[in-house]
């Protein structure tokens, strides 16, 4: 497998007792790109992201993240933003900043403080008292303030108002580094299409298509969003 790819999997399988979520997934995600992981609900997107982030173990197949099997070394270089809020409720903002600094040597605390200040979030604020939207922004800031090699964003713009969505996309673009890859899992493609280099379509736990956004537009004469709708028409 290509060791230059940030994610590399072959025949990746994840079986739950009730379902076969990934069925022989084989793909490579290159470094330095913003990649969209697209697929309908239940296609295996979240399972794949959890496998890459080390929250799940594969049932079969091979998976390498930055050249390592998911574990302590891969977790060091991966910055993961799940769909849910994972912050310790009892902490204040400054507490969670300290925690990220403690555990992640690549955490850029100054950058995080700057972004928080620009959103008007006080360091002494208690996480418990924040609205869901604000907590999500704090989480996004924490994740993007790490100088990681891979950013995993699971549905970052679902259920979010347009202003917040623009803020999120702007943060992703301005934080872009050519040494890092951002993998965004979403089913809301039209909002995010312009920000993506490449897309990977997943269906029934397998890869269906991997291509650059402009290649799709050039070849098919339609947007990725439209292609997605046609591909996954029920």
């Amino acid at each position: 497998m290509n060791r230059d790819a940030i994610i590399s999997c072959q025949g990746l399988q994840k079986r739950y007792s009730y379902k076969l979520a990934l069925n022989g997934l084989t793909l490579e995600i290159p470094r330095g790109k913003i990649v969209g992981l697209l697929g309908p609900n239940g296609s295996g997107k979240t399972t794949f992201i959890k496998l890459v982030s080390g929250l799940l173990t594969p049932t079969a197949g091979e998976l390498l993240v930055g050249g390592h099997r998911p574990g302590v070394e891969s977790k060091r270089i991966v910055s993961y933003l799940p769909e849910r809020t994972y912050l310790n409720d009892w902490m204040r903002v400054e507490g969670i900043l300290e925690m990220f600094s403690d555990f992640y040597p690549d955490f850029n605390e100054a950058k995080a403080r700057d972004m928080l200040a620009r959103l008007g979030i006080n360091l002494k604020d208690k996480l418990k008292t924040m609205s869901k939207g604000t907590k999500e922004k704090v989480q996004l800031i924490l994740v993007m303030s790490r100088e990681a090699e891979l950013y995993l964003l699971d549905e970052p713009i679902g259920g979010v108002d347009p202003a917040a969505r623009d803020y999120i996309l702007d943060t992703i673009i301005s934080n872009y580094s050519e040494n890092a890859t951002v993998l965004i899992s979403t089913h809301l493609i039209s909002d995010i299409e312009k920000v993506l280099d490449e897309v990977v379509f997943i269906k029934n736990g397998q890869m269906v298509l991997q291509s650059s956004v402009d290649d799709i537009r050039a070849s098919w004469g339609i947007s990725v969003d439209q292609l997605f709708r046609e591909e996954f028409r029920c």
Binding site: I34, I173, Y176, D214, R217, A218, I222, Q226
Partner: protein, 121 residues
């Protein structure tokens, strides 16, 4: 300003918009372009795509890169004028074609143009 349509490659549309901005003087000859990152953020597109567009502008001779200083608009005014005329001519062709498709004669088109000019004043 950055209106991007869904069915054409994004980088081509970026090239067009930047070209327009250069020719209309938004980015004056000899001036410095913002960084790739800033332009990408402004257009809300992927920095790699913006990079590709800028590469294309370099190929067209509108822009040149100076290793650490960034990208600059050419100060070859002749070239810019040439390009302006070329693009204008293209627009005229498109316009004339549309008019003839609608069945208007040369006279009709000239009358339309004069009337429109008066209204603009």
């Amino acid at each position: 300003m950055w209106k991007i349509e869904s069915d054409r490659p994004i980088y081509l549309q970026l090239v067009e918009t930047l070209q327009q901005q250069i020719l209309t003087g938004v980015y004056p000859p000899g001036g410095k372009l913002p960084s790739v990152r800033d332009l990408a953020a402004e257009a809300a597109v992927n920095p790699n795509t913006m990079q590709k567009a800028l590469g294309e502008l370099e190929r067209l001779g509108l822009v040149y890169a100076q290793r650490t200083a960034g990208r600059f608009i050419t100060d070859d005014r002749e070239r810019l004028e040439q390009m302006k005329e070329q693009l204008a001519a293209e627009q005229v062709q498109i316009f004339l074609k549309k008019m003839s498709e609608m069945g208007l004669s040369r006279q009709d088109v000239i009358a339309l143009l004069e009337r429109a000019e008066k209204e603009m004043e």
